[in-house]
Symmetry: C2
């Protein structure tokens, strides 16, 4: 045997996770530090690999090595395996470097057999000893001998019935003796051999069982999904038992060194006197708060306080500790970083930094972007118990309660009247925006994470669930079927956009926490990050919110939402339906003052910071009624012989024009700068609105900084022409107003060809902004409106793709184009400002990519600005 | 003066086009070879540039240099400018390196004034001299003095009326004297100065006018459109006049050294005795066939024959020659490569090669792919005069006549009855195929060059015009409005798919010519080309046709067209509407024998050659009725209270399912291998059909070589999984039949991500085929069904893009991805076979790109196979 397979706790440290597993490494670390840990040893994770490579056989010398350590334990503790006076009992626990489900449970009290049970009974009470023995057989039978749990439970239940009691702890010593006898019989019958009474054999079988559990199907699947290597292996921890139930001066408990919900610096946990580990969680006796230990066993409590502080200092983090007190003496059974709420994570990290235990960088590493995300939205109170009606895709976090409304107009009407409504639709379209604005939240039965409803809701920071396929919505009847119920308009539901759950009725809510520590942490993040964080904002309100969340400007101001407003849509339609440029210009003339007002407000709200205004992007038919609806109306009128009516003529007219504009693939159609090239008067009006608003603001002493962005450019020529148009309007307004106006014109890189031709496109651009939503659609050939519902969900389930590329930027494919675009653009213009303004701008992994790719900024929805600030700092720290 | 500006004909050669222009270079060449060319000189094209750069001024020394050459001419000919006995007359002609419209017309007889006219009259007859003088003033007044042509015509007309004659040549000497007098008066009145009588002044003004015409607006626009540099400049040719009308032994004519329509090796042309250049084309006298010259002036004819042969040998090509015979002596006024029909181009090239005048490579260079294309389709007889009703996009060449039919079912029905019909639709859809098959041609009012109708028609080699927007089709009334007419079903029209013209009634046709020379030329091309040429073929008939056209296999066999057949559609719909995998498998079970039959036929037709079978690609909703039509039907039935009917239920059911499958952007939706991944049973059935057919054929001794192609792969995983499925079925069928079956599985690279990830995709592929139609759509973000009608046409008009990227592969953008895909794929698998199967596979420029990019083959529609063979050879020659 050339490799050391078994390590005494004294031989390791917390850095030995790969060899000793997480649990083993922490036990070793505490032992090394001199903390009171019951002695024991760890069989290394590598041994597990050797065991498997030998076809489930112990390598030579392993059993001897284990036995040698047992003997060392016996010597040290003055106890012996199988001893009839003072028997050595041990616990056997698995412990891999990464914890995973399906691994073997703990076996406590190994070493018990009829004789040692009597010995234990003499020291700790006979009923307790018998119960331990009964549990040990059951636990061992189940996890080591692979017997069905239910077979044991049937015996237990029969004995309970016979004894006329309801609960196990009401069984007397005689009952337990009977249980044990029948357990042993069962083992003999099912395994064909007697229960192993020899502690050495018990131990070796238990070690073997831990190894075997590494190959159990659940663990294998989990490793596959989480890409955990199969040759990591699991370690086995063998530790002397200590007894928290040995005397009134004994106990056992768990504690956090700080409050894991709030982060407050107080010991938090519970314990039981005269109890063993299991009892604390079994719910038979009610554990007491840890503070009470100070009254019950003051010396032990002082030890606990001291040890907690020491461990926190040692690990530099809040700890989750398991301990046992045997006859007044404290023993530590485990310590690890404590799981905590988002709120606690922030507070603990900031507090630890203030206490000098970690530095600011480490504080930032300690808080995940997801935790910041949770803090920014109200959620459903996890303690509230409500009926979950359905589960959809969690499209936009936050929770909301309201009456069901099935159309945007009612949502708007009720919303204006102060009603709280949830807009429920099969899907939403741009002309539902006025309803979404006034709804508390949105629920759709169709669509994926980046469908219209999802994007709009996320942009507005409104809770949203999409693709909730178990809803059967009947818009005609204004009702929906779900979970065997029929819900009608005005019925109350609640939705939790963070989890995708739909609840019946109103539920308790937890309000968002954005306390002082969060703000402080984000300020530290700002000091560290090198990536700018801008916001996508279409209104002055959005812009103000973004600013309050720390945005360094507006990275994407979409002008189409302004066109959708109810009072403008008729004018927009007039513009679209115009047959001549003259008529179109007349309609645009009416829109000009409105657009100027829009830009005035946003530029003012963002004064001193850049506002990137994207000229009109969506296909024009999005502003017209649906072709199918019109066709149906007309056919019905014809069937009713109403061809003579004014309405019929109007609708026929509208249909003809809507049809002429309708497209097979609008995503790839007549939109973006293609509109601006065919109808330059539209972009001209928008540019004029931008620069007139700017001139007005400058006149009022407001530092307005517009940057004009041309969408969907795929050829340098497109940008050259549209840029020329914008510059011309800029110069005109400059002449007209006599004011020097800032001039920055850039473009979005959102189709592959733009990235490939970035050299020449850069010639005409002051900045690039990657529109990674569309770039993902075109690079993958995925329509985001269709893919998720039709096949992408299955792709993710089947691991055809590792992530939803609309949520997490696809670094393999789309990322190549981004890198190409950056490199080619900068090769022509080294100082080119480059950002990203797709949904990915607010997603942590994608932000890290943007940092590495050398982008200047990310832009995301206002509510994700804090997340992006943190993510950018974390990415900088990873460098 | 450092630069020589004026060149005597003796000083140049045919290689001096850039300096002397095309005409000047050929005059110099003929002079050099010793042919009888009237002497003269050329003012260089560079002089024109200097003239322009000086702000329309003669450079120093130019006038002297010209005059020097005139004096040399005088000396040589014994004539003098302005001489009252034997005056020198010259012609002045423009001549750039590239001929272009808008350039100055020829001026003949320069040097005439009242005195020299009398002198000429004494030598050639007074009436003729007067007419020449009259014409000279008119010509000079118009092109040099910029006077309106109509002003001269009014005078001429008044004199004719006064003289009581109808035609100019009926005017007597007195009448002409009067015309001349009034012309001179008109010049004086309009220009404020007398007509320049001094020959030197006339010459200098004429040279200046040639230079000025370079900057004329028509010429400038033409240069811009054709990307001809503005600083090319035009040369000026000054040449002594010879007189074809000097005696009965004189004449003038034009000839081709071979028949320019058929290519036959006989002199072809016409001439007039006793006539000057103008008269041959003026139409007053009917010219005689050139052969008659042999009877009229035998010696001159012998000279013509000798010179024609000499020039053809010298230039190695068929020549288009202008000549004049003065008193029995032959003079050559111009020679150039003769324009010829496609048919003649092929015959002349092959004949010249056989005659040893050029080699095979040169013969291939001499024929353009467009000429081969013309040979493969019947066309409208260019001599036929028919009313052109409208003009659309020339989507598929060939001409057809037939009765108008507005729906596919009638087209099919009438077609089966032997009627010739033209299917006229706003647009076509996959379920119109059965009608297209039986129609003579297709005409649509919507769509672009690559819309459904265009692609299907091109694939079938059927004439097709799309996007013919001036048609107003009323499907309800079964009529259309066009050019002020109303055409009803059964009215006869003709279409010319090569030009996009729609004619009223039946028109004369020219049948396709694919003679022995074409076949021979293409065999030579095959010897030279290194790029394989395969065909896109979906039926055994297509495959046979492709084979007869020289295809080296099938590069793309689309299986969806098989699903569309009328007898299968119901089974396909059954499969789509199935709720369970079991039901789906039942329907697929019915399709299996049909598919097996399809593959059996194609593999047999292509025996010994590879057949690349693409598994199902289009979105499933393409096989269902249109959602809008269904919605309309249902609404109408509801309005009529027919909800109780069976039909209503059936349609409602169908609508619900069609709606569930409908997509916002089907191009980017649930199609291609995505179908195969979600419904593996579909691909499984197809693979089984392929291999069962192969096994049967091998059993019959037929060398079947299927290659299975997975469409729309964007991630290596997609190919890995679908390939595994195909291999599994292959192995099963191999086991079941006991036959060794060929196994090749490849993929299409048709979305950008596939090209970017070609490294890893190659791991699972035996071959790549670039689907450049879809790759163009995704790389540009252009939907081909929408782009052309909505904005692409304008883009091309406005030169935003130089070419339609769906017609000519976009080498800048899409080409980068192709090159990347090839390089990355081969870096992992050096022997990877790579081809292309988009529409571009049959387009010459794109084929040249494929050759350069190192592809192994192109695949195109059967009718374009000969074009591709030639193009591939030409590309190889360009290397």
């Amino acid at each position: 045997m050339t490799q050391k397979l078994v390590f005494r706790f004294e031989e390791g440290s917390k850095d030995d996770r790969a060899r000793l597993g997480g649990k083993g490494a922490n036990l070793a670390e505490m032992t090394k530090v001199g903390l009171p840990v019951p002695p024991g040893f760890t069989v290394s994770a590598q041994t597990c690999n050797i065991y498997n490579s030998l076809g489930q056989k112990f390598p030579d010398g392993l059993e001897d090595a284990i036995w040698q350590e047992v003997q060392a334990l016996e010597q040290r503790l003055g106890k012996r395996f199988g001893d009839e006076e003072n028997p050595l009992l041990v616990s056997v626990r698995s412990g891999a470097a990464v914890s995973m489900p399906g691994m073997m449970d703990t076996i406590l009290n190994l070493g018990l057999n009829p004789k040692t049970t009597e010995a234990l009974g003499r020291r700790a009470g006979r009923r307790f000893a018998l119960d331990c023995h009964r549990r040990f057989i059951q636990m061992f039978g189940n996890v080591v001998l692979h017997m069905e749990h239910s077979a044991f439970e049937m015996i237990l239940s029969a004995v309970r019935e016979h004894a006329g009691v309801e609960h196990d702890h009401q069984l007397g010593e005689g009952d337990l003796e009977q249980v044990i006898a029948r357990y042993l019989e069962l083992v003999q019958r099912q395994t064909g051999r007697p229960f192993p009474e020899e502690p050495r054999e018990q131990l070796m079988l238990a070690v073997r069982a831990v190894f075997d559990s590494w190959e159990n199907p659940r663990a294998k699947v989990y490793r596959k999904i989480n890409q955990i290597p199969d040759d990591l292996g699991t370690a086995v921890n063998v530790q002397a038992m200590v007894f928290g139930n040995l005397s009134p001066n004994s106990g056992t408990g768990v504690l956090f060194t700080r409050n894991p919900n709030t982060g407050e610096k107080v010991l938090y946990g519970e314990y039981l006197t005269q109890a063993q580990g299991e009892d604390v969680v079994a719910g038979i006796r009610t554990p007491k708060p840890i503070a009470v230990l100070g009254e019950d066993i003051p010396a032990a409590y002082a030890d606990v306080e001291r040890v907690a502080d020491l461990l926190e200092k040692h690990y530099g983090d809040m700890q989750d500790i398991e301990f046992t007190i045997e006859d007044g003496k404290l023993y530590l059974l485990q310590t690890r970083s404590g799981k905590r709420s988002a709120r606690a994570a922030v507070k603990v990290a900031v507090d630890l930094a203030h206490e000098g235990r970690i530095d600011k960088a480490e504080a930032i590493r300690r808080v995940t972007p997801e935790q910041i995300d949770q803090l920014l939205h109200r959620g459903v109170d996890p303690k509230a118990a409500n009926e979950v009606l359905a589960k959809g895709l969690p499209a936009s976090p936050g929770a909301a309660t309201g009456r069901i409304t099935f159309d945007a107009d009612s949502a708007e009407e009720l919303g204006r009247m102060g009603e709280r409504v949830i807009l429920v639709r099969p899907e939403t379209a741009p002309d539902d925006i006025h309803g979404i604005v006034l709804a508390q939240g949105v629920l759709t039965s169709r669509g994926g994470m980046t469908c219209h409803a999802a994007i709009v809701a996320r942009g507005m920071g409104k809770p949203c669930i999409v693709g909730c396929e178990s809803l059967r919505i009947d818009l005609m009847r204004k009702e929906m079927q779900v979970a065997g119920r029929t819900l009608k308009e005005d019925d109350v539901i609640s939705i939790d956009g963070a989890t995708g759950r739909v609840f019946l009725g109103a539920v308790g809510m937890v309000e968002p926490q954005l306390g002082g520590e969060t703000a402080e942490l984000l300020r530290w993040a700002d000091e560290i990050r090198r990536l700018g964080v801008m916001a996508n904002a279409d209104t002055p309100e959005d812009a103000e919110r973004a600013r309050s969340f720390g945005a360094g400007g507006v990275g994407l101001c979409r002008t189409e939402h302004m066109f959708m407003a109810q009072d403008r849509l008729p004018v927009v339609q007039e513009m679209i339906l115009a047959d001549t440029e003259e008529d179109r210009r007349a309609a645009l003339g009416k829109l000009l003052p409105m657009q100027e007002g829009d830009f005035y407000g946003i530029l003012k709200a963002m004064q001193g910071l850049p506002v990137t205004i994207r000229l009109l992007d969506p296909p024009l038919h999005e502003f017209l009624p649906d072709v199918e609806e019109l066709a149906v109306d007309i056919a019905v009128m014809r069937a009713r012989d109403e061809q003579g009516s004014e309405e019929y003529r109007r609708k026929s007219d509208l249909l003809r024009k809507a049809r002429a504009l309708s497209e097979f693939n609008p995503m790839l159609g007549f939109r973006g700068c293609r509109l601006g090239l065919i109808y330059p008067e539209i972009y001209e009006m928008q540019a004029r609105a931008v620069y007139q608003a700017t001139a007005r603001l400058l006149g009022e002493g407001v530092d307005a900084r517009p940057e004009v962005m041309i969408p969907l450019v795929g050829d340098p020529k497109e940008l050259e022409i549209t840029r020329r148009l914008v510059v011309q309007v800029h110069d005109e307004v400059q002449r007209e107003t006599g004011r020097e106006l800032p001039l920055k014109v850039g473009t979005m890189l959102e189709i592959p060809r733009a990235c490939l031709l970035a050299y020449d496109i850069a010639e005409h651009a002051d900045f690039f902004s990657f529109g990674t939503n569309d770039l993902t659609q075109t690079t993958f050939g995925f329509s985001r409106d269709d893919a998720e519902a039709k096949f992408l969900t299955r792709y993710l389930e089947d691991k055809v793709l590792p992530e939803n590329p609309f949520a997490v930027l696809d670094q393999n494919g789309v990322g190549q184009l981004v890198e190409l675009g950056v490199a080619r653009g900068r090769s022509r213009k080294p100082e080119l400002k480059v950002g990203i303004c797709g949904e990915h701008g607010g997603e942590p992994q994608s932000i890290a990519f943007c940092h590495r790719a050398g982008l200047n900024y990310v832009s995301c929805s206002p509510y994700r600005v804090p997340i992006a600030r943190l993510s950018a700092a974390r990415a900088a720290l990873e460098d």
